[in-house]
Symmetry: C2
């Protein structure tokens, strides 16, 4: 982790320098920028007991009041770790305020949620369970449910060595499973790892545009993003929805942080539509156009836009492959879900 | 299929005879009843291309208006092929009228839905997609969605040899996947296949009670049910909810068929709580008590109830094991879900 963080910091520094160079009119070829990225690597150390338990919890809708919504409902691992809806559906079909970010490669982000209010995946995992607009449960009720199911109690005991599950164990197991949700071996990673033929002519042209236009200034590092907070609307104000989702200022209390959001990863961006915190852009073409104009003051031609989109599609990695978990059944004493109360 | 059907018919005949014998005071030991059942067997002939395509469709929420509800939402293969909710949640959180039956082993049923209005799985699969209270989509919109996704179009072409997907192909693929959702090798099946030690003393006592009390009259065959329509409330009227779900009469138009429902399978019944068409019984103990009193005019003692429940838990088979499917992404021209319109 510390190695990764210091790597990320150095990438950011280099990126800022490079962007400055670029703005000063410097000319760069693609390979000079390669060092600003890094391939997605499999996690170095995972606790497989926690992973398997966390996988069950991730798919268990009994962690919601209704018994209908699981982590996988909004971070669907069949669909790029998102729900592909503008803003998510919560308990009783409430409309969420913000687009669900992908869970894929999220362990590489500097913080979780669009405003970074959770320091890490473990801190994030407890949020939606207790959020009245999402799973609408409580940590106490979630633990009561788990503690009533003998097979869960045994598995928690095996993995954590304690007689009773608690929310700390729940979030730790979910986070450990999420650490495994990385997507290595994209075409871009093959390129970074030495197979320079992995990108075709259009993709390479898109990569050059991505670097030389300045996209790289924010979208760098192994996750091509996820490692800084940046203002949405630098050159031109963003006209999308910002109601109740003013970004980083909600965490820092600083007015200067309004409309600052965590830069989303571009990994698997082909799968994680619609785009931006409000999900207002349905297509990559539209998202690239908006970013060019608002962040860089640049109107990409259709040909340029297509080339950048072609490059972005090389960021689709191998999706996590695993067996659908089978959940232990409720016991006679398990409290029943209350979807309609 | 025809062999299976004629087997089912003969089982039903034997069951009726046996129940008659029983009512006439005949004494039988467990093994005399073994012939009324059959172990769950793997399907004899499946088209693997259809299975893999059908698996994707089964997990694809884009077959719903909201983009949020898939077949797996209410027939969750992590949870016994059900949603474990009294009545299901449909588009915009509508409360469904009836409990979702399990998809597991449903290929063995004589018809689909509680009232049997679909002759087979293929006929069933199109229903929820177009039901305004469930997935709230239409077959036309579902096909428009699929036809806009190049990877789906290619897979349909590979499997069906046609240039364009249609609803007939969709339901055929889903039904083929569902044919694979059988659960062999339960303790009871091990017993039926010759390992008489597979059931312990209590389970065997429960099996005897199940047979000798008359449960077998309706719950027989390979699925311990699913092969006849029977009145809910024979000896005593059922006090649960029957509003808008009057059963078989909705199909036949005959008043005599009111409150006749397809007898549910007892396979994996430990996982498919809550019970009955209205999901009003949360536990097996309660369900056994209600069935004893209403259908057989018999009040089981606590000890008897526990033994029958112990037997019922031997019907939990090996759950279908497969990789979570990865869905092909929407294209720029794919119509977007409209969850809040």
């Amino acid at each position: 982790m510390s190695a990764r963080r210091s790597f990320t910091r150095s990438v950011v520094s280099v990126a800022v320098v490079s962007a400055a160079t670029l703005l000063a009119g410097g000319v760069a070829v693609a390979q000079q920028f390669d060092q600003l990225y890094a391939p997605i690597a499999p996690p170095k150390s995972v606790d497989l007991g926690k992973v398997e338990l966390g996988k069950k919890l991730y798919f268990d809708p009994r962690l919601s009041k209704s018994g209908f919504i699981s982590c996988n409902s909004c971070h669907n691992l069949s669909m790029g770790g998102t729900d592909n809806i503008r803003t998510s559906i919560g308990d009783k079909w409430q409309q969420g305020p913000i687009n669900s970010p992908t869970v894929l490669n999220s362990s590489l982000n500097l913080a979780q949620f669009w405003d970074g209010r959770a320091a890490d995946l473990k801190a994030q995992a407890g949020g939606p369970i207790a959020n009245p607009g999402e799973m609408a449960f409580s940590h106490t009720l979630a633990i009561d449910m788990l503690a009533s199911i003998p097979a869960y109690v045994r598995e928690f005991k095996l993995v954590f060595g304690k007689d009773k599950p608690d929310i700390d164990q729940v979030t730790e197991a979910i986070a450990e499973f999420e650490k495994t949700l990385v997507t290595p071996n994209s075409k871009f990673d093959q390129y970074l790892l030495g197979n320079k033929a992995a990108l075709n002519k259009d993709e390479l042209a898109g990569y050059r545009l991505f670097n030389e236009s300045g996209c790289v200034a924010c979208h760098n590092g192994p996750n091509l993003g996820g490692n800084s907070f940046q203002k949405m609307g630098v050159v031109e104000a963003y006209k999308g929805n910002t109601k109740n989702v003013e970004g980083r200022s909600a965490v820092t209390g600083k007015d200067a942080d309004r409309f600052n959001y965590k830069v989303p990863t571009l990994r698997n961006v082909e799968l994680t539509y619609p785009y931006f915190h409000d999900g207002a852009s349905d297509t990559l073409a539209q998202a690239v156009d908006v970013m060019g104009r608002l962040q860089l003051g640049k109107k990409f031609t259709n040909a340029e836009n297509e080339q950048i989109v072609a490059f972005l599609k090389t960021l689709t990695g191998e999706q996590p492959v695993f067996r659908l978990p089978i959940l232990p059944p409720s016991s006679d004493s398990t409290p029943r879900p209350t979807p309609f109360k």
